[in-house]
Symmetry: D4
């Protein structure tokens, strides 16, 4: 019965609660965040992809939020021991990786960052083999052809979550090329989230590394 | 240096080694499998999506293989304690789920199966809430609109890997509809593998549940 | 002969007449609306998706119009008894649902609204089962993966019209993902209108519930 | 609670139960059909898109089924008074329309058929205006450009369900062209089901014309 | 040899010469138009899809141009006797039809216009059957599902050139739906030009109706 | 009124009547062809894309038909004076061009053929400039990139109808590449029919060259 | 003048002449090959993608041809000194690479082969760095995500021609995924030919390495 | 070992180093360019697709850069003897061709330009046959249907690199039509880079013409 669902909610009380900002008025943001903060639990609350008006309104109504990479975080979790790595191929992938890192941080992970590791200069990711082998989870953020996910997936043994980005022009097809490449990857067992979905990748890491 | 890569191979010696059958002659299968079995390690070796001629040849050359759901398995791993659940929406998704289950089994997982749980009869998956809450990892195999992944992802807190299938006709677009739906899912943190890639989903579970 | 067509017009004199605003000058709007209001009949007249200049012009020329959700309505129909429900998955689907509700209202239906019922929190739509069972028609407005239509279609026995929305980013493909998912739905007998076409869904309800 | 769902099942006991044949073994068909026939209710039971082996097995196990247009029907409903019309554009659309008509017939509707009414010879559908004006529901089955749905939708005031078919070659794109055309139709309030889904259209009619 | 090509140029000296404005600086427009006007011939010269700066520059440099529907015309041809009809489905198709009509006019045709003849109100195009039967060529400009081309093509016996427009939203796919529908049309012998290509349609009429 | 449509039929009595063979039983072919031959008129009657069983049946029932390129022709029209040219790029385009030529022949045109004129050997089409300049209509049949239509359209001043073919592999996308290329052609006034639609191109020529 | 084109033919007399087999009758093959062999020049003549009947006919009519990888070669060129490397990612890419190697061989190149070098095991291609650095041209043949081209392009300084293959299933989209990935590659200056076009890649190498 | 990769870097020290401007802050540009200029080598350094703020910042920090066609060049190479030709179809292709020419120039090539050579006026490219025959490499930049690449590829014997551009509207599909056409080209051995990727084409020329 539905009680089971309620029970289930209880089990997950310490989980993150996230609100997607775009399309909501500042007032709606204040309301929804308020509701989530009022629940007697201690999990983090997030408002993502905010604009300036939304930030102003929610910080006024609900002090204590910290703003990182377009994400407002309340009740940031204390540090956890697992090693999470966020890898990016190029400069243009950084905003998506930053959102991912901000959400990971809110969840208690303090992700290490490997940047500018595109496969056309393969020595760059090879220099990070030790880091990848030691990781408990890796997020690979890459646009264009998305090949970095295959290379990383072939090195790391842990969960590898690939995030295609809409970076690039022409044949990158706004992320579809990277998405398809990651899905068709010959590296067994890597998984994929939606285009530019840094948030989703962070949440996938949280699922893979339960407390 | 590349020694690091070799070192890395050592670290992963107990991993599964899988050969993709289609497009290989029986002789090629015998050769590659033989090479993998000759390595002094004890991880399982798999030959997937085999046809009859391939099976005959490899079992003759390398006795001891077991055939399940189109997969030949040597050195099947001993049972592990984690609870893995494989959920399917309809009858037509079963072959993909069976491949996934066979690979999981080779890896030591003894997956539980939930079948015929399409969301158009929502009580069917609701009857399995306890099973989903107790799981350490869930694989959702679904074609058509792929909505089952969103519902399961909203219930289970553990890693949820979604496998779109090419089942169905017309607007199912041979799995593309399910794939897109799973990627665009509103359930945070579920991840997706390629169309019909039951093997990949099993390997993703193995990454998420290291020994 | 074509007289049959004229006869047919007579039969439908009490129907809604709707003008699509975008791409028309305020003057064109005034003209077309004037023509429709001049016909000796009492059905409602609508001007949809208006901008400010169009509203100003038509209300000046044709007083008595009411503006709701970007729709100007003249000769709003008196209340009807049938129960129509408009369900939305997320905040971002509201504008499309609002247009749908405004047109339904003009037609005499006073639709009930169920909001924020996305399937990733399945208890939300389950809490509305009685409402859905009692409905004479349901409109489901959803973007992203559009799975809500399948779940609602499996509960309600009445006509269910699904409206995919262009809400979301990346793999939502501006509504195409939701559209495909709704068309491929495993819930038998649900039907679909074009992306963001809240107006069309309201008109489909009117066809299904003749006076 | 889920009891509500069960209650809901009770409410719908007289509904059709349909099993999709393709991909099921004859044994699976016998089993599922048997289960559905064993429920103490009097609604029709259907097995659709059957092949010869499936027909032989199910008729042997469950005598009394009638086979029409690839559909096996048990407990065919008694005749209902509503007028349902199934219109087709060309010869090649007939199989889809036949499946639709067979399902409608199982539900108690005795659909009238209008055939060869493609819009390139517009006098053909104009000759049927009286029939369309008198209808309680119309199903339009058309491939290629699918324009027939727009014309019929502009004439009939009742529910119009459009079924795109995969008929034709080249630019018909296996039904996608007709599907898009029907969704983008300028005839307000027509709705669409998936490509070749004659079954779904019949079920949509059943929703629109409750007993 | 290439002399044959030159000879060919001679044969075509009275043809229209057209310059596509977008992407050219006003200076480039002045130059190219000047070159074309300097050729000792009497065919019309056109500059299409101009912006204000381009218009100002070319009229200043080359007086005598007339501006209609975003097209500047020099040496407009004297009136010809053939009957050309330009049909549009909705208000939003007018800009494309206007460009087509402006080019036809420059070529000496004085096209008749039939507007607001979308097929959802089939009596509207039926009222113009005599006009269509008397035509020497018809251009059909339509967006959304583009069905008007099939209906007109089934009535008129002369060349029918269909122009899909990018009008509409959602499932219209910026003209692709209309394009596909026109190509897949069941009306034999109608032909199609690119999306929004009113200019191309006018040129096709000129080819079909040589002096 | 609809009488106008009938009148219109009278006007077009000498037109070709064509039946599309695929998907029709031999009996249906016999019936439809018989009906068309029974009309007291003298226009040609065609049955296209026939298989052997259909040919046997219709020639038995309706003697006097001639079979060319998969098309059965009754009442072939007497020769006309206009020069029609059918150009092909490669060997693989021949079947589509043959169907086109057969239909043209049935209509009284005795088309000239230019073959193997792909643009990668541009001297091949240049050798035919005189033929193209003298033509009253040209049909260009080409697969792969379809560039031949642009080159021919730049040489010939008469109507040029382009037929994309599904010839080729990989990036030819079964005719879509050629189709798009022809629609986007920089040669003004060329028009396009559906992929592989040689019949449609012949009918377009008939429209452009009325008796 | 066209003489220049003829002159040009003279300049290229020593080039390969290739006939594409599929869609040609054995007789057509004999004829075209005969014509090419009769030209007083010494360049190789190729008939590609042949079936058994074609092989029998052409070898009978034109003795001296050698058959390799579905290609018949006459007048194979003597060995050249340049180092050309053909790299493949997986077993399934071999047929395309074999065609490429056969054409290269006919042209006088004796290509070295690197196989099974997919990027998910990055040490495999790293073991070949010296070979890649010493190459005068590299062809990379890869399906699935096509990432190998980016890695090779980042190592080798010479011309790198990428050939996407239709190998794989699901999200590989029959080569489109690899094609897009190669086009969007972050390795500067690599170029791409059509899906499965091993022949084209060999010809591109011939252009890059003139005698 | 990875030392081989380092060795490889040494071999390529005189190569161009290019930074892609879009998405980088002026500060990031200054930093990366500075790093590249600090390497004790004499190859050119490029910053491409710059905006005004980026130009101001980098020229201030690193004097001596020259700005051409949106590209800043430091350490421009001295002139080389090879003949490289850049051909464009229309005015709108010029920006992409200009970027290509600027990069070629930085590399020491002084490319010749052929402009306005679209195939609809085939005499225009024929007038340049001598230039094409004398070339060591040709870049063809074309939008719309991209046919120019096939014609040029059939004339020139040297490497031909095709660049599809996103020029045009409607059926040009923002470069996809030209891209597909170039890939499917019947001219053997031409290769393709991504849409609008003038930079990539120049780099491909550099690979084909090593010092
Ligand atoms: N059934 C399967 N589905 C998807 N990928 C597979 C499957 N079986 C094996 N693979 C992958 O394919 C690779 C082997 O390809 P190959 O070297 O051609 O045998 C392995 O590394 C696996 O990652
Ligand atoms: N011919 C058909 N076309 C489309 N859907 C069908 C058809 N027959 C049955 N179905 C649907 O498929 C579901 C049964 O699927 P299954 O459980 O696999 O038999 C039913 O709930 C129906 O909604
Ligand atoms: N080979 C063909 N290719 C395309 N359309 C055809 C062909 N043959 C006949 N048609 C069209 O198909 C229509 C006949 O369809 P049907 O009524 O099914 O025989 C005719 O009106 C023709 O316009
Ligand atoms: N195996 C192949 N793959 C791709 N293109 C080929 C192949 N063999 C020949 N061709 C091309 O096809 C053209 C010959 O086509 P055809 O005239 O039909 O024989 C030649 O000019 C080659 O460029
Ligand atoms: Mg870099
Ligand atoms: Mg079922
Ligand atoms: Mg929510
Ligand atoms: Mg017919
Ligand atoms: Mg209107
Ligand atoms: Mg040839
Ligand atoms: Mg392998
Ligand atoms: Mg020009």
């Amino acid at each position: 019965d539905v009680a089971r669902v309620d029970h289930h909610r209880a089990l997950r009380q310490d989980q993150v609660e996230a609100v997607y900002g775009p399309g909501k008025t500042p007032e709606q943001c204040v309301l929804v965040v308020g509701e989530l903060l009022s629940v007697p639990a201690d999990g983090p609350v997030l408002l993502t992809r905010v604009d300036d008006a939304q930030v102003a309104a929610v910080l006024d109504a609900h002090p204590g939020g910290e703003v990182v990479a377009g994400t407002v975080v309340w009740r940031r979790a204390s540090e956890r021991a697992e090693r999470v790595v966020v890898v990016t191929a190029g400069t243009a992938d950084l905003p998506v990786a930053d959102e991912c890192a901000a959400v990971l941080d809110a969840l208690g992970f303090r992700p290490r960052r490997i940047t500018d590791a595109g496969v056309a200069g393969i020595h760059r990711i090879l220099a990070e083999v030790d880091e990848l082998l030691a990781a408990d989870a890796v997020v690979v953020v890459a646009g264009m052809e998305g090949a970095l996910a295959s290379v990383v997936g072939g090195i790391a043994a842990c969960p590898v979550v690939a995030v295609p980005t809409s970076v690039g022009y022409g044949a990158g097809l706004e992320g579809v090329t990277a998405l398809l490449g990651m899905l068709a990857s010959c590296a067994a067992g890597i998984t994929v989230v939606g285009i530019d979905n840094g948030f989703g990748a962070a949440m996938a890491v949280a699922r893979a590394l339960p407390r």
